[in-house]
């Protein structure tokens, strides 16, 4: 009872001040991070996705087999002797050609993930630059650039993609080109819209007034402010790219043997399910579903975390 301060308000004010500095120290990104960490579905998805990625890129080291060797004893008899088993190291059993399914799934997941991520990267790079330039320059350049995007978007791209694959040969590089051609269109629209709203802010005006060149303004001031939207949209784009790739590979027009992807594996599993070798369907399907799910949840979580509207 001896230390009663003269001004009882004082410690409280000090505390408040302390709290204020605490609040001040939180940036937009730190704020978003806290919100993201609180989102359970998104956090679980991050762990699942890390697991899938580790599986896809390092899974082959856990298996004594590889993805190419054909076990002639199993070939033609997969339904009876090709089941998944922990003892002989064929964790997921055999595929219809007598190859180890575990390693095939590792390879397929790897390729599917890569298609998704590369497609999304192309979208980020091309779409952001295109959209930012169109939005910032404005006027006739903008309407010409966006009219082009309108037309390109209303072309039914699946036909063009299949035409490309048929004409230039069915290969994974052609698939990348085809997916890259369409992936950036949506992104450029979103980025343009966002750029238009940033363009009228005071700091851009200041930059223009001090004579900063247009492209530097786009690079230094516009693009960093677009980052939130771009990250959210890129994450949501990955599963779409994986879906597109799997669709094409399911038809047999995409990734070709000896390479494989989840879509191609699901297709094989579908073709053989009447023989009673269901593991050929379920393992790739399982990895496909959890991968797509995780990307959706992470994208949703990022949107909730970064979207200023919900704050």
């Amino acid at each position: 009872m001896t230390n009663i301060p003269l001004n009882p308000q004082q410690p409280k004010t000090a505390q408040m001040a302390e709290r204020m500095t605490e609040v001040k120290g939180r940036s937009l990104w730190a704020d978003a991070r806290t919100r993201f960490l609180r989102n359970k579905a998104a956090m679980v998805s991050v762990f699942v996705l890390v697991f899938v990625a580790l599986f896809a890129f390092f899974g082959q080291f856990l298996s004594p087999w590889d993805n190419e060797t054909i076990d002639w004893n199993v070939l033609g008899n997969v339904a009876r002797v090709g089941q998944p088993s922990l003892e002989n190291g064929h964790y997921f059993g055999f595929d219809d050609s007598g190859r180890d399914l575990y390693n095939r799934v590792v390879q397929g997941t790897q390729i599917s993930l890569m298609v998704g991520i590369v497609g999304s990267l192309i979208a980020v790079i091309v779409g952001t630059i295109y959209g930012a330039v169109a939005g910032f320059v404005g006027g006739r350049v903008d309407s010409a650039m966006m009219r082009f995007v309108d037309i390109a978007m209303s072309i039914p791209y699946m036909f063009v993609l299949i035409l490309l694959l048929v004409v230039f040969g069915r290969s994974i590089s052609m698939l990348f080109v085809g997916i890259g051609l369409i992936a950036w269109l949506d992104m450029s629209r979103i980025v343009r819209g966002q750029t238009l709203s940033i363009k009228n802010k005071e700091f851009i005006e200041a930059a223009v007034a001090t004579g900063v060149p247009t492209f530097t303004i786009i690079r230094r001031h516009i693009v960093p402010n677009l980052l939130g939207v771009v990250v959210v949209y890129a994450t949501l784009l990955v599963p779409q790219m994986i879906l597109t790739e799997s669709f094409i590979s399911f038809l047999g027009l995409g990734v070709q043997e000896p390479l494989t992807s989840l879509g191609a594996l699901i297709s094989e599993g579908t073709a053989t399910m009447s023989y009673g070798t269901l593991w050929q369907l379920f393992f790739p399907l399982g990895f496909f579903v959890i991968t797509i799910f995780s990307f959706f949840f992470i994208g949703d979580g990022l949107r909730d975390a970064l979207d200023p509207k919900d704050r």
Partner: protein, 320 residues
């Protein structure tokens, strides 16, 4: 006509919107046409290159028959003229006895049948589910609907189809695993479910969130304050604004169903147009691919145009 169905009159802006929309659709069609034509032209290997090379005289005769000795622009204009004036997509290069028109005549009715049914089912069931979930927000029905929409996002047609066959054909033996049989009901069920599920889910999600937003708006509160019964509020006042975002989704859903027919036809062997398209892709039957691309592509472009115009007609804000 009940008040809810009365749509606003277009006015002069509507007309200019329609013109502007057509002004985008026509170049799109041309671009599609030129892209597919150029790709076919640059394709390595002509349609009549086989493993045993034909004598040059024979090859020249065949090429003359199919018009391949003409300059490129002549081929293109002849082709377009054939389509526009006589709806003639030319001969197939692979099947000597068939034209692309024969293939369309054979496959198109099948695709149209299950495609239309899927489209209607997706809209009706998805819309009803979304509205019901929004009205009974946070009830078990709502949770069920939300769970379904999240789950079905990752169940595209090529995942749904094998699961359906596995359950209903291989395990239960209730439905035939493939074939068309003139469109008998038990051959149609699984293609329709496989094709419509993911779109149904998207429509349900859109309708639910849009309905929730509408129900929170001021004019609904006014209607409630007036003492209107819930049923009148929902059917007469809330329904139309709710369906706006759904209308804009119809275009992508249509596109998805057209391309989805590739999967449906190859898994269920329904013999629709998708089967011929994928087959042509494997056989490098460029004439069939190009014909089907132009037919299905222009259908998609036209459908998107109609949806956009419809949307602008309902929502005056879009027209400007």
């Amino acid at each position: 006509m009940p008040a809810a169905l009365c749509l606003p009159d277009g006015g002069p802006f509507m007309l200019s919107f329609i013109f502007r929309r057509i002004a985008v659709a026509i170049p799109t069609l041309l671009v599609l046409l030129i892209i597919s034509f150029l790709m076919m032209q640059t394709a390595p290997g002509g349609p009549f290159n086989s493993e045993r090379p034909l004598p040059p005289q024979v090859l020249a005769n065949i090429e003359a028959k199919y018009g391949l000795d003409q300059p490129m622009w002549k081929q293109l204009t002849d082709y377009v003229a054939g389509i526009v004036t006589q709806f003639d997509f030319g001969p197939s290069y692979k099947y000597k006895d068939r034209t692309v028109n024969d293939i369309i005549a054979q496959g198109f009715p099948v695709t149209l049948t299950y495609g239309t049914i899927s489209f209607i089912v997706a809209i009706l069931v998805g819309g009803a589910l979304g509205i019901a979930a929004a009205i009974k927000q946070n009830s078990w029905l709502d949770y069920l609907a939300v769970g379904f929409t999240i789950g079905a996002q990752v169940l595209p047609n090529f995942v749904m189809a094998p699961i359906l066959i596995l359950v209903f054909t291989l395990m239960l033996g209730w439905l035939p695993g493939g074939g068309w049989n003139g469109g008998q009901w038990n051959h149609v069920i699984m293609p329709v479910i496989a094709l419509s599920t993911s779109y149904m889910a998207s429509i349900a999600r859109l309708t639910r969130s849009s309905m929730l937003e509408v129900l929170r708006s001021n004019f609904i509160r006014t209607a409630r304050a007036k003492g209107l019964p819930d049923r009148t509020i929902i059917w007469r006042h809330a329904l139309k604004p709710t369906l706006l975002p759904v209308v804009s989704y119809l275009g992508p859903a249509f596109v998805g169903m057209v391309t989805g027919s590739f999967i449906i036809d190859s898994i269920f062997s329904t013999g629709g147009i998708g089967y011929f398209y994928v087959n042509a892709a494997f056989n490098r039957d460029y004439a069939v691919m190009m014909g089907l691309t132009i037919l299905l592509g222009s259908m998609t472009i036209l459908f998107n145009m109609v949806v956009d115009i419809l949307y602008a007609w309902i929502d005056p804000k879009i027209r400007l």
